[in-house]
Amino acid sequence: MTRSQAPVVVTGLGASTPVGGDVASTWEALLAGQNGVRPLTEEWVADMPVRFGAPAAVDPAGALPRVQARRLDRSAQFAVVAGREAWTDAGFEGKAGDAGIDPDRLGVVCASGIGGLHTLLSNYDLLRDVGPGKVSPLAIPMLMPNSSAANVGLEFDARAGVHAPVSACSSGAEAIAHGSDMIRSGRADVVVAGGIEAVIHPLPIAAFAKMMALSKRNDEPERASRPFDRDRDGFVLGEGGALLVLESAEHAHARGARIYAELAGVGMSADAHHIAQPEPDGTGVVSAIRKALESAGLDPTEIGHINCHATSTPVGDAAESVALRKVFGEAISNVPVTAPKSMVGHLLGGTGAVEALVTILSMHHRLAPPTINIDNLDEEIQLDVIRGEPRKLDGGPDAAMSNSFGFGGHNVVLAFDRP
């Protein structure tokens, strides 16, 4: 197998998550097994079937100029904050032109699973309670699902194309996959890609709870997100996200950029099985993993680490384990895997990007964070799940994979290799 033309590398990282307002604090917290899940304190929580979540560690509005913050939905605030961090981390300053990038060769792909929900619902409240005159003229540009992508594009003067893929909980990974395609197909040299979400609000909590997707462990919220544990009972809603700077290897080498990893391959598939249930035999997931490996020119034996989607739902975690065994066979028992959602909860459209970032840092530092809250590893989960302490990846193969799956049957797998 041969790797695709025009290698794509990762040169910048930015994040705002339930355990840290930036990449460094997030990474440190994950290695320490720190828990971002906590009781919610808003007034509306009292009547909710689920009274906890994983709110962002740092309010993104506080990291932006006041006037800019009030013109952005909370979701876009996360996007701009993470985008700026990734941009600076890649060694860029100002807009594309100032950073030595042709604006026509700079793209943005920033996903959200749901969009500007807080803006939508607060304006609906105003419409219903006061009347149409109170609806904000900024409501539409703030609530549209492409608002985060568009605002990141404005921030850096991106003109090669600004896109906002939507595929529920695989949106963030899909954004990175599309960003990679923009570079591989020659449409851009640099793409700011990732995903964000900000929907800690009574409506999504009530709705996710109604579909039995959320953990209801109200008596011990910090133990609620427990991927792969025998007693897992659903995911924990988190918020935030991550953006990466993707760059053609040629462009990155020419400017002497620091390279974290190569985005060696992407694989996407759809289950065509059920609108919200994973396929129990994992056929769609297997297909996405195989496509990712094939496009990366990697054999399963060259994968040294897997960052699992593992949301802590009974069916989903088991289906992921089944799919991994189908691709890797018995050898999967020797591949250390981890599930960051045990600490940050489920960031929906942001999760695939945050987990891609964690995968990249795990490769970069040869150290992968643990999965917390596993008291009894489910017998059905026949995987080497990292528990307790972070695991050194020295000695194993270099490449790593990050899995993301979304309601609707969307499967996205990203394969990273050392540059």
Partner: protein, 81 residues
């Protein structure tokens, strides 16, 4: 009823809150678009906030006629009298 200067300074506070333009820059002769760089969406926000603050009605059709700070202050004065 508020004095002309009270209306101007109240309007300046609103403009600052919504757009970040320093309140001292919001002087009578200034054009909202050309001098203060206020876009049409922000202008609607300013008008809605001004209606609330001064207890007046400013029809949406009227907003396009409010080119300068002075236009807006005069309109509010008349509408409130």
């Amino acid at each position: 009823m508020a004095s002309t200067e009270e209306i101007r300074s109240g309007l300046a506070e609103i403009v600052n809150e919504i757009t970040g333009v320093p309140a001292d820059d919001v002087q009578m002769e200034k054009s909202f678009t050309d001098d203060l760089d206020i876009d049409s969406l922000s202008m609607i926000e300013v008008v809605v906030a001004a209606e609330e603050k001064f207890g007046v009605k400013i029809p949406e059709d009227e907003v396009q006629n409010l080119a300068t700070v002075s236009d807006a202050v005069s309109y509010i004065e008349k509408a409130g009298s």
